[in-house]
């Protein structure tokens, strides 16, 4: 069941009614049941795999909790000094580590198996002509999102940051909470479970806010993302036959990021808004990413929960590991403090970006792309002096508005570069990128040829207006203006005019209908 379907709207309405009409102590159980139904409707066999994850993490969590309690008791009893305390901690942590290793092995083993086993068989057949039969595995919905959530949970118990969940039903709800299954966010246990398991009264204001946000998400997805997708598909599939070149391809490349943003953040608005109706705030996944001044900032504003997960559980532990520590010290000794201290984190960041790439899918394009991203992030520190020098010579004022705009545009161009790298995974696409660079044809912006890429003039302008509105809303958010609260302060006529306007815009301009199959979300496949 797609969340962009009337079926989902009906499902959502029934669930909201059930949640608030039933006795409060049933509320979390209703969400669990709804998650199970939602999951079953998306492939009943997948329930087995998510159940394995839940059961494993439940047992490991409890085992770790027991060790934590024993450690706390020993510290309490012996009243050790700082050094002895450290010794006790390290003794326990080496015995606790094996549970984390089991968690990683089971969950990532399952993850790799489900995601790549059939692909690997296909490759083996193609290379060696083995004629092996693929298993026909259907990748479970939200596999990478729930796997990461569940693995993070066990590490947090290991670190003593949270207590293990003793009720397996509640843990199952945390792992499988269905709004987060479509495309995240990768919530952290401590951030959501307070409200997830709590009892909630119906709240009209919260209901309105949630509905508004859902409507906004549907508009982003159905008015903007789906339209942008038409042009992107047209250019990518037809560039050779149609002879698209230069700026025509560049427009499609730029639209790729627009589409991904409208699609992914629109999907987030839908699920976060929906969850808000219940009174369960989910973690935000975007913070106006296209206003980033640098690539490093972009990765803190785009797909925030994946970035935070990678930072907390991969980048930091790796950077602080004794091997990296020693290596870092050696670098500092050899080439001095300034540059020496960047080298070890750069390597750690490369490994992290590589894993982010693998999370998206194994392909040869992800190696250069992770190198590209890690290099850009590191260059900000490594080339700090050079940049400062250039700025001084050009008399650039860092705080001027123009310079800020320049930085955002530069980041956008760097992102298009990253896109080109990803596209090179298919040999055809190398041709596409060549065709983009081999011709300078700015007249395509004036001679109506952009209207022949699948969207007529009216639809093309609708797309442009949609982009302008999304940008405008982002500008308001960036300035700290809370739009929904501003709407709530208006009188009833203005408020309902806005609601109806948005709803009719969606009905009239949204791309859907009996002969139109709303494509699934880009990030649903991860």
């Amino acid at each position: 069941m797609s969340i962009v379907s009337l079926k989902f709207v009906a499902f959502a309405a029934i669930l909201v009614a059930a949640y608030f009409l039933a006795p409060k102590r049933w509320q979390w159980k209703i969400l669990l049941a709804a998650s199970a139904v939602f999951y079953a409707l998306n492939g009943i066999q997948s329930i087995l795999f998510i159940a394995i994850t839940i059961a494993t993490q439940y047992c490991l969590g409890l085992a770790l909790e027991k060790k934590n309690e024993a450690m706390a008791a020993e510290i309490e009893e012996k009243k050790p000094d700082a050094r002895q305390k450290k010794e006790i901690r390290s003794r326990y942590s080496s015995s606790k580590k094996k549970y984390v290793v089991i968690s990683l092995a089971v969950n990532f083993g399952l993850f790799l198996f489900l995601k790549y086993f059939d692909k690997a068989i296909g490759k083996a057949n193609a290379w060696f002509g083995l004629g092996l039969k693929p298993l026909g595995i259907l990748v479970p919905l939200g596999l990478s999102y729930y796997t990461f959530k569940a693995v993070g949970y066990v590490i947090d118990v290991y670190r003593g940051r949270i207590h293990a969940q003793k009720n397996i039903g509640k843990l199952a709800l945390f792992v499988s909470y269905f709004p987060a299954l479509v495309q995240g966010p990768i919530d952290r246990y401590e951030d959501v479970t307070g409200e997830l398991f709590a009892e909630h009264e119906f709240d009209y204001r919260r209901f309105c806010f949630g509905m508004q946000r859902m409507l906004w998400g549907y508009m982003k997805k159905m008015i903007v993302a789906e339209r942008a997708a038409v042009i992107i598909d047209m250019v990518q599939t037809g560039f050779a036959a149609q002879g698209y070149e230069g700026f025509t391809i560049f427009v499609a490349m730029a639209l790729t990021w627009v589409r991904t943003y409208a699609d992914f953040s629109g999907g987030m608005d839908i699920v976060i808004g929906f969850s808000e109706i219940f009174g369960i705030p989910m973690t935000e996944n975007f913070r106006q990413p296209f206003f980033s001044k640098s690539m490093s900032e972009f990765w803190q504003r785009w797909h925030i929960t994946l970035g935070a997960w990678m930072r907390t559980y991969v980048f930091y532990p790796l950077s602080l590991s004794s091997a990296f520590n020693k290596f870092g010290k050696a670098c500092r000794k050899k080439i001095g403090d300034k540059y020496g201290k960047v080298i070890a984190p750069t390597i750690a960041s490369f490994i992290t970006f590589f894993l982010v790439g693998m999370w998206h899918g194994i392909g040869r394009a992800y190696l250069p792309n992770s190198l590209y991203n890690a290099a850009l992030v590191a260059s900000a520190t490594l080339l700090e002096d050079v940049y400062a020098n250039i700025k001084k010579r050009l008399h650039l004022r860092e705080n001027s508005k123009a310079y800020r705009v320049f930085q955002s545009v530069r980041t956008f161009f760097l992102l298009i570069g990253s896109n080109c790298l990803i596209l090179t995974k298919t040999p055809d696409m190398v041709g596409l990128i060549k065709a983009m660079f081999q011709r300078w044809n700015p007249w395509v912006f004036f001679d109506r040829s952009l209207y022949s890429l699948g969207l007529d003039q009216r639809n093309f302008f609708l797309l442009l207006w949609g982009i302008v509105i999304i940008l405008f809303v982002d500008v308001l958010h960036e300035r700290g203006i809370r739009i929904r609260e501003a709407i709530a302060r208006q009188n009833i006529i203005v408020r309902w005019a806005i609601y109806y306007g948005a709803l009719f815009a969606l009905i009239i301009f949204g791309m859907y209908g009996p002969d139109y199959d709303a494509s699934s979300f880009v990030y649903e496949h991860f």
Partner: protein, 74 residues
């Protein structure tokens, strides 16, 4: 000790008012590279071992929080 911590922070990233800032991490003032530099400097200066599980926003959002973290490990 507070001065020493402040000096380390200034050394990693100079143009920040650490006395006033309350969301060094949440507002993205310090990025992950900065954190790694700060942690390795703190480890050397105070002869402590800051562990990955201590690298959470609440321990690095303010100067006071960082000082408290260092104190708790000494």
């Amino acid at each position: 000790m507070r001065e020493k911590v402040l000096a380390i922070l200034k050394g990693v990233k100079g143009d920040v008012d650490y006395e006033k800032a309350t969301k060094l991490i949440d507002d993205g003032i310090l990025d992950s590279f900065d954190i790694i530099s700060i942690v390795s400097d703190l480890n050397d200066e105070f002869d402590i071992d800051i562990m990955p599980d201590e690298l959470e926003p609440e321990n690095f959002n303010t100067l006071d929080a960082i000082v408290a973290l260092v104190q708790s490990l000494q």
